[in-house]
């Protein structure tokens, strides 16, 4: 069965930790990190990376456009 797998890459230093991407994710993949970036913001990261489907919802609501989305069709046995 083909399964869609996705991944996001957050530009950590540009993320302002607003958290708008967190409720936008239908799979609840994203959370804000406990650590902070250089400006002191709690940046977004993939908390459960294996659930990401690469739907791009987080990236299109991100006000700062710091999220890049990748998607592949993975064959699972």
């Amino acid at each position: 069965m083909a399964k869609v797998r996705g991944a996001i890459v957050v530009d950590v230093e540009k993320c302002k930790g607003c958290g708008v991407c967190v409720p936008a994710c239908p799979q609840d993949v994203i959370q804000l990190a406990k650590e902070v970036n250089g400006k002191g913001y709690h940046y977004a990261y993939m908390h459960v990376p294996e659930e990401c489907t690469g739907c791009t919802n987080c990236a299109i609501v991100c006000p700062d456009g710091v999220i890049t989305v990748y998607r592949v069709k993975a064959e699972t046995v």
Partner: protein, 260 residues
């Protein structure tokens, strides 16, 4: 066989990336501000239509006064409220260009009301992007003409009293009455669905402006979490509950005959 994250993160698998028409400068807006999303939508549409060298934007006064630093196209910056007057001049001198103004509610609906209404009435062939967050963001959260009744701002700390301060100005409905406007719509950018719809509206506005049949007016109901004293997620929720009943989303005036 389990797939590793590093197998997914490859250049050929990119499905979404920040448009290169936004410069590398970090946006100067507060965390969660809708301005960033709206900047990106406009630039994505310009990129898709491949009109980067034919588009001229006008930056306003307000939070987005530095929009020309972030959008990698030709831009001008107008005096407070006079963006539509400058856009009129540019469009008349260079009629083959796509001209848009990008204005906030303090700029467009307060000091620039006259310029806006007359530009709409003359049916100038440019696009107005109007970002309505119901408050003066840059100067510290003062009451704007679009502030909701009862809504607190730094110059009305007990809430807007409509007996003294009047009712919020629905400028989008107002300009829709004028014959010069061709396409008038109101959108939001707080959820993925809203962003997708808003992007279609931006695309429509650019396509319609090709016909030179009148002014296209796109309002975005947006948030101002700093001015509203909330975090970004709360502000979006508050906006849904309070702003949308007063400023309902959707197309207000759509061209009848033309098809994009």
């Amino acid at each position: 066989m389990a797939m590793e994250i590093k197998d997914i993160i490859k250049p050929e698998n990119i499905v979404y990336r920040r448009t290169p028409l936004l410069t590398d400068k970090p946006l100067s807006y507060c965390p969660g501000c809708g301005h960033g999303t709206i900047h990106r939508l406009i630039m994505e549409v310009v990129e898709e239509m491949n009109i980067q060298d034919k588009t001229i934007g006008i930056a306003p006064v307000g939070c987005s006064v530095l929009a020309y630093e972030f959008m990698d196209i030709d831009m001008q910056q107008a005096a407070h409220g006079r963006a539509t007057a400058l856009a009129t001049a540019i469009k008349r001198l260079l009629p083959d260009r796509f001209v848009f103004t990008y204005q906030g509610d303090g700029d467009l609906a307060a000091i620039g009301t006259a310029e806006t209404i007359h530009a709409c009435n003359r049916g100038e062939n440019f696009i107005i992007f109007f970002v309505n967050n119901g408050i003066y963001g840059m100067t510290g959260g003062q009451m704007a003409p679009t502030t909701l009744p009862g809504m607190k701002a730094s110059t009305c700390p007990f809430g807007r009293d409509t007996k003294i301060m009047g009712n919020p100005l629905k400028i989008t409905e107002l300009v829709a009455q004028l014959q010069g406007t061709y396409y008038v719509t109101r959108q939001a950018v707080h959820t993925p669905n809203a962003v997708r719809k808003a992007k279609k509206a931006v695309r429509n506005a650019f396509e319609y402006s090709k016909h030179n049949k009148g002014l296209c007016f796109v309002e975005f109901v947006s948030n101002c979490n700093s001015g509203w004293k909330m975090n970004a997620v709360q502000a979006n929720k508050w906006m849904e509950e309070n702003m949308f009943p007063y400023y309902p989303l959707g197309d207000i005036k759509v061209p009848q005959s033309e098809k994009v």
